[in-house]
């Protein structure tokens, strides 16, 4: 086997992961600076704009150390990039499983953060060799010693921590040497039956879904007949290759290596991340461990503004699914919004990314309803139903109890913000679990919270109450029954199913007040007064009146400047086209997400 090192970079968001990856690619000559568009690994437009990685990527680099015990030998370094958001923790875990080591990256100006810790533990759980790296040492407010101290508390020796400025390229050589020296080579038997872990995939219009794989045992070559052990599908391999970082075909992949193969796989559903590839004629007895089917956490209705776009939306969702196995959808009808789809997402970010891309890449005007978690409703008949759309909650008289999904949340914040953060968590029906003090004047708070509460602008509130310092990580933690009710919204006397939410009974009234107030701000005034009401079980708990528009007319077309005024009117009309007419009232897209913002004022 060649000298291989498989590693990933784990870090808190914004700690410079992509920039460091770019620098490694550049320094190993895999791509020159000119050929690199900023941050090669973040390829999606949306990802680039948001500075986050949604899907994992992989790149193969060649490196020959010029000093040290391995000087002169050539190493293959496979960098597997991991998604940077808590929504994608399963995908992260599969990417980690494909590696022997990880760079634990810490921003010298920020120190260890909630996601740093979460990733640290995750990497340890996967048995990875960790190389702590302190990044951004070039910044004037950098405090590398503090970062080192904090890493020391995680068990690293001060000498182990490498100081790097990915932006300036400082310390990159030393880092490459450390990767070679400290991360163990892959074990594995090229002669054993094929075992390859799928850690990501991409859809290609010509080749179908292209799985990205890490080989643990065996060999994989063109012409092989392979079986995906979880989905059961069998395929003929038409191409195998590696990433440099663009795909380059090779003769075969051998145990320990990272690459891709093409086998005319039609959809991402058929090759879910975490599945095991083996040979059809010489299968391995058991799949690799750790596989988990995609479990959407939040659901939202996605509706075309204009009914003619329904088919286009379905096609777009289908196209999307080819590349994104985590997205699920099924047709849904709303009295208010007409025909659309109920879509399941891994989390809010996943939802935002998908709806943004649907709008941008397919040019669709869409209304996305407020996301909902999946409630478990126990009926008096004993039947238990899973409800992912508040509008579909069975009548109260039939319901025995409603249980909602919970999460374990960890917040790390400087001491001074512990009070405000606790206040926030308590206000969100959180149950306090623990408070411990970390070094560097920081505290870690653990709470058990309803997942639904985290969706209601929790993160924004957390940031604003801690002046941006607090960080959050959470993971699912079962279900719990609560005193929950359906909060309905009536616009001009008509219930709008797409605006219904499920809330704690004690908060229904306050939520209702804030919600109708928000709607009053977001819905443009109509030619008549519009009553905005929130109701629980048929009883109105909050009401606002959207006053009729009394005057809206251009005073003049002065000096014959028709063009400019006409353009103004045109924009106004186009804006209305993007609204959804419910009854007699035009409701803009933002209004359907108003429930997300009914937490505290910012």
């Amino acid at each position: 086997m060649p000298d291989i090192r498989n590693f990933c970079i784990v870090a808190h968001v914004d700690h410079g992961k992509s920039t460091l990856a770019d620098r490694l690619i550049e320094r190993t000559g895999t791509l020159d600076r000119r050929a690199m568009s900023e941050q090669v690994l973040d390829q999606l437009e949306v990802e680039r704009e948001r500075g986050i990685t949604v899907k994992a990527q992989a790149v193969r680099m060649l490196y020959r150390p010029s000093r040290g015990p391995s000087a002169g030998r050539e190493f293959v370094l496979n960098l597997i990039d991991t998604p940077g958001h808590v929504d994608f923790s399963y995908e992260v875990s599969r990417a980690l499983a494909a590696c022997e080591g990880a760079l634990l990256l810490v921003d010298a100006t920020q120190g260890v953060e909630a996601q740093t810790l979460a990733n640290f533990h995750l990497a340890l759980d996967h048995g990875l060799a960790l190389v702590p790296v302190v990044n951004k040492i070039d910044l004037p407010n950098a405090d590398p010693e503090r970062a080192r101290r904090e890493l020391g508390e995680l068990g690293f020796l001060p000498d182990e921590c490498l100081l790097v400025s990915a932006k300036e390229g400082v310390g990159v050589e030393e880092l490459l040497d450390a990767i070679v020296e400290r991360i163990p080579p892959p074990a594995g038997d090229p002669g054993a039956p094929l075992a390859a872990l799928i850690f990501d995939s991409r859809y290609d219009a010509y080749k179908g879904v292209v799985p990205y794989v890490r080989l643990f045992d065996g060999r994989l070559a063109r012409g092989d007949r392979v079986r995906l052990m979880q989905s059961g599908g069998e395929y003929e391999v038409t191409e195998v290759g590696v990433f440099r970082p663009q795909p380059v075909p090779v003769d075969e992949l051998v145990a320990g290596e990272v690459g891709y193969f093409a086998a005319a796989i039609r959809s991402a559903k058929e090759c879910r991340v975490g599945d095991t590839v083996t040979h059809a004629d010489r299968p391995r007895p058991m799949p690799l461990p750790g596989y988990r089917p995609a479990v959407p956490m939040v659901f939202a209705g996605v509706y075309p503004v204009s009914a003619e776009d329904y088919d286009a939306l379905r096609e777009a969702l289908e196209r999307f699914q080819l590349n994104d196995a985590a997205l699920v959808f099924e047709p849904e009808t709303s009295a208010a919004l007409g025909f659309g789809f109920r879509c399941g997402f891994l989390g809010l970010l996943h939802m935002e990314v998908v709806s943004e891309r649907l709008a941008r890449e397919f040019g669709l005007d869409l209304v996305t309803t407020a996301p909902s978690v999946v409630y478990r409703v126990r009926l008096r008949s004993g039947e238990v139903r899973e409800i992912d759309n508040p509008a579909k909650l069975p009548d109260r008289s039939l319901v025995e109890a409603i249980a909602e999904p919970m999460v374990l949340a960890e917040v790390i914040a400087p001491h001074e913000f512990v009070g405000p953060v606790m206040e926030l968590c308590q206000g969100r029906r959180g149950r306090f679990l623990a408070l411990d003090y970390l070094g560097g004047e920081r505290a870690r708070l653990s709470y058990r919270l309803p997942l639904a509460e985290i969706m209601f602008d929790f993160f924004d509130q957390l940031k604003s109450r801690s002046r941006g310092y607090a960080t959050l990580d959470y993971r699912p933690d079962g279900y719990e029954e609560g005193d929950l009710v359906k909060l309905e919204v009536l616009v001009a006397g008509e219930p709008v199913d797409a605006l219904a939410t499920i809330v704690a009974r004690g908060e229904a009234e306050a939520r209702g007040h804030k919600l109708v107030k928000q709607l009053k701000e977001l819905i443009p005034r109509q030619q008549f007064d519009v009553a905005l009401q929130a109701a629980v079980g048929g009883r109105v708990v909050a009401r606002e009146t959207l006053r009729a528009l009394r005057k809206d007319v251009l005073a003049k077309c002065y000096g014959g400047d028709v063009t400019r005024k006409r353009k103004l009117l045109e924009r106004q009309r186009e804006g209305k086209k993007r609204m959804k007419r419910v009854g007699r009232v035009d409701i803009p897209q933002e209004a359907f997400l108003a429930v997300l913002r009914t937490g505290e004022e910012r």
């Binding site: 030619q527 006053r547 528009l549 009394r550 005057k551 809206d552 007319v553 251009l554 005073a555 003049k556 077309c557 002065y558 000096g559 014959g560 400047d561 028709v562 063009t563 400019r564 006409r566 353009k567 103004l568 009117l569 045109e570 106004q572 009309r573 209305k576």
Partner: protein, 393 residues
């Protein structure tokens, strides 16, 4: 191509200079300095010559074209010395046939209107004076950053009469900071007491880029809400009608026979040539606007190039012309005539816009007659909901 005998043309000339810029103003304005108007008039003359030359990016106007109306707008045209305006008028007369002009308006601010200046305007052919009176309330004038008092307006009207102006307009504004229906009523009364032939009542529009816009964003403008503005508007309609003024357009009222011929050309989607900074034109189905930047205007004209703003130039075509004719024509109280528009553009708006008109009529915004389509009383207040249907780019 147009011939001198074709439908007469209207002429708009923009004189941008003001002694100070009002904080709500969004027009192309430049600060007055001695010598500036004279130099600018030479640019206007050069631009007029360019407008006659064939082969440019926009339709030419034939030399000697018959002009029906002239409008000197601003800015404050009357800050330009009479000699400069005289030169402008005589140079225009060398290029256009002004012998048949039936209305020649000059805009003026009330303050500092010298009798000689007014006489000079009459001498060069102006017969209508449009005075920016705005409001009779001293506090509201201050809030608008105006540099005059109502006494100046009274003096200006007297001066105009003495100079022989038989057609005087007062521009009034409502929806002003601190204004009430009662104070607006006082302004209307004060205005009518001066006996103008014409009154314009403009609702304040806070335009992006103006100081007022910034004030409003910062919550510093105490503007009446739209319900109060609607009340003020209704008040003006009722009061002026009772005083013998006929409303003929959303914002305009006149004694019988004194509707502004020049402005009617705009609303009837007729042809007009605009000269000067930021001036707009509509000739032979093409709309264009001049740059609003004085330096660019100067450089362009000096180089013999028409000073166009590329953003504001568009060829409309019959469908666009029809839509514009609707958007503009519906501003008139009498509305538009399907028959007339069909004859002009070969398209019947009643058919082209059938669905929109049905909806608008159902909402009570327009009234559909056998031939005429016009705004209802509600439509006058919510005109934009009607106009947007005809805003086709």
């Amino acid at each position: 191509m147009r011939t001198p005998a074709a439908r007469p043309l209207s002429l708009y000339v923009h004189l941008p200079f003001c002694r100070a810029k009002c904080p709500y103003c969004d027009f192309a304005v430049a600060l007055y300095r001695p010598g500036r108007p004279e130099a600018y008039v030479e640019l206007l003359v050069a631009e007029a010559e360019l407008a006659l030359a064939e082969g440019g990016p926009v339709p030419a106007v034939p030399r000697g074209a018959r002009v029906a109306t002239v409008f000197f707008g601003g800015g404050t045209p009357t800050v330009s010395p009479p000699e400069a305006l005289r030169r402008l008028a005589s140079e225009l007369a060398r290029r256009f046939d002004l012998s048949g002009v039936r209305e020649w308006t000059v805009e003026a601010n009330p303050e500092g209107l010298a009798p000689e200046a007014l006489s000079a305007l009459r001498a060069l052919g102006a017969d209508r004076l449009s005075i920016g009176a705005q409001t009779a309330e001293p506090g509201e004038l201050r809030a608008l950053g105006r540099r005059h008092l109502w006494e100046d307006v009274e003096a200006a009207v007297r001066g105009a009469r003495r100079a022989g102006f038989g057609n005087v307009n007062l521009d009034l504004m409502f929806g002003l900071p601190g204004q009430t229906v009662a104070s607006w009523r006082r302004t209307l009364e004060a205005a009518v007491a001066l006996g103008p032939e014409h009154v314009s009542t403009y609702g304040l529009e806070v335009e992006p880029g103006t100081p007022f816009y910034a004030f409003r964003e910062r919550g510093l403008l105490d503007l009446p809400d739209d319900a109060a503005q609607a009340e003020m508007y209704e008040e003006a309609r009722a009061f002026l009608r009772a005083e013998g003024y006929e409303q003929y357009e959303i914002s305009n009222f006149a004694r019988p026979g004194f509707a502004s011929r020049h402005n009617l050309v705009y609303w009837d989607n007729g042809d007009y040539l605009g000269l000067g900074l930021g001036a707009h034109s509509h000739v032979d189905g093409v709309r264009w606007g001049n740059t609003r930047n004085l330096r660019r205007y100067r450089e362009s004209v000096v180089q013999g190039v028409r000073p166009l703003d590329p953003e504001a130039t568009e060829v409309r075509g019959p469908a666009g012309e029809l839509a514009d004719a609707m958007l503009l024509g519906l501003r008139r109280l009498r509305g538009v005539s399907r028959r007339v528009l069909r004859r002009r553009f070969g398209l019947d708006p009643g058919e082209v816009f059938a669905a929109d008109l049905r909806e608008l009529a159902a909402s009570g915004l327009v009234a559909l007659g056998k031939d005429r389509i016009r705004l209802t009383r509600k439509g006058l207040l919510l005109g934009n909901l009607v106009f947007e249907r005809f805003a086709l780019g």
